[in-house]
C-alpha cells in the first residue's frame, strides 16, 4: 500500500470521526459541547505567540504598509 493510499485512508477515517463528532454535538445541550470546544480554542489563543503585523502579513502573503 502506497503513501497515497495511506493518506486517503487516514482522511476517510478523519471524515468519519468528524461525522461522529457532529452527531454527538446534536445529541448534547449546546452548553456541554461548547464547554469542551472552548478548552481547545481558548488554550490555542492563550498560547499563541503574537507576531508583529509586518511578519504576520508577510506569512499571509498580504500587503502591509506598517
Amino acid at each position: 500500500m502506497g503513501k497515497k493510499d495511506d493518506d486517503r485512508r487516514l482522511h476517510e477515517e478523519r471524515l468519519q470521526f468528524v461525522e461522529l463528532y457532529a452527531r454527538w454535538i446534536l445529541s448534547q445541550p449546546d452548553q456541554v459541547w461548547s464547554r469542551e470546544q472552548n478548552v481547545i480554542i481558548d488554550s490555542m489563543l492563550e498560547s499563541a505567540v503574537q507576531l508583529d503585523p509586518r511578519t504576520y502579513m508577510k506569512i499571509k502573503n498580504e500587503k502591509c504598509d506598517r
Partner: protein, 217 residues
Amino acid sequence: MEFREGRVILKRELSALDKFIVNAIAILKQHVRYVIVSDYVAILFGRPRGTEDIDILIDSMTKAQFAVFYEAMKNAGYWCLNAESLDAVYRYLEDKSPIRLALKNKVFPNIELQVSDTKLKRHVLANPLIVEIADAELNISAIEYQLLYKRLILGTHVDLEDARFLEEIFKGRLDQKKLDLFESMLKEEGYLKDGRSLDFVSLEDVVDKKMKKRKAK
C-alpha cells in the same frame, strides 16, 4: 441548537474567539452590512478547532462612511494590521484587498474584511443565515455556500472536514435550490472551469431526485 426559518439559536458558552467576534460585530454592524464566511462558520457550530482570523464580507463603503467606522474601531481598542492612516487603509478596500483588524498590539485573533465584489458574494451578503448567540446576533453565510466553497474551491483536508461537519449538523435542512444557484454562480464567475461540479460532492442529505440519480450511476 434550535433551527428556525433563516435562523439558528445557539445556547453555547462563548469562547474567547466568540467574544472577540461578538464585540467586533457590535461595532461593524452599525456601519455596514456584513456576513461571516469560511472557517468560523464551522467553528461556531462546534467544530473542535481554532482559527486566528474570521473572514467577513462587507458592502463597499464611501471614504466618509469608512472613516466613521475606522474611528469607532480605533476608539474601541482595535488597530489595522495593514496600515495605520485612514488614507492607506481605505486604499486597500478600494483596491478590493482585504484589511485585518485586531485588538491593539495583537495580531491574533483578527477580523479580515473584504468588500463583496462579485455577484455571488453580494448574493451571500444579502441572504445571510442569522445565528443568535448569547445576547447577540451574527450574520453568517448560507451553509450551502459554505459547502460548495469549501468542497469545490478550497478543497484542503481541513476544508473538506469542515464541509462534512456542516453537512451533518444541517442534515435534512439544506436547500437544493440554493446549492444549484450557488453552483451556477460559481461557474458563471469562472471558478469551475476545470469541470468540477456537484457531481463530485457526496451530499447525502440532499433529497433532490436528480442528485440521487447521479449518485446511483
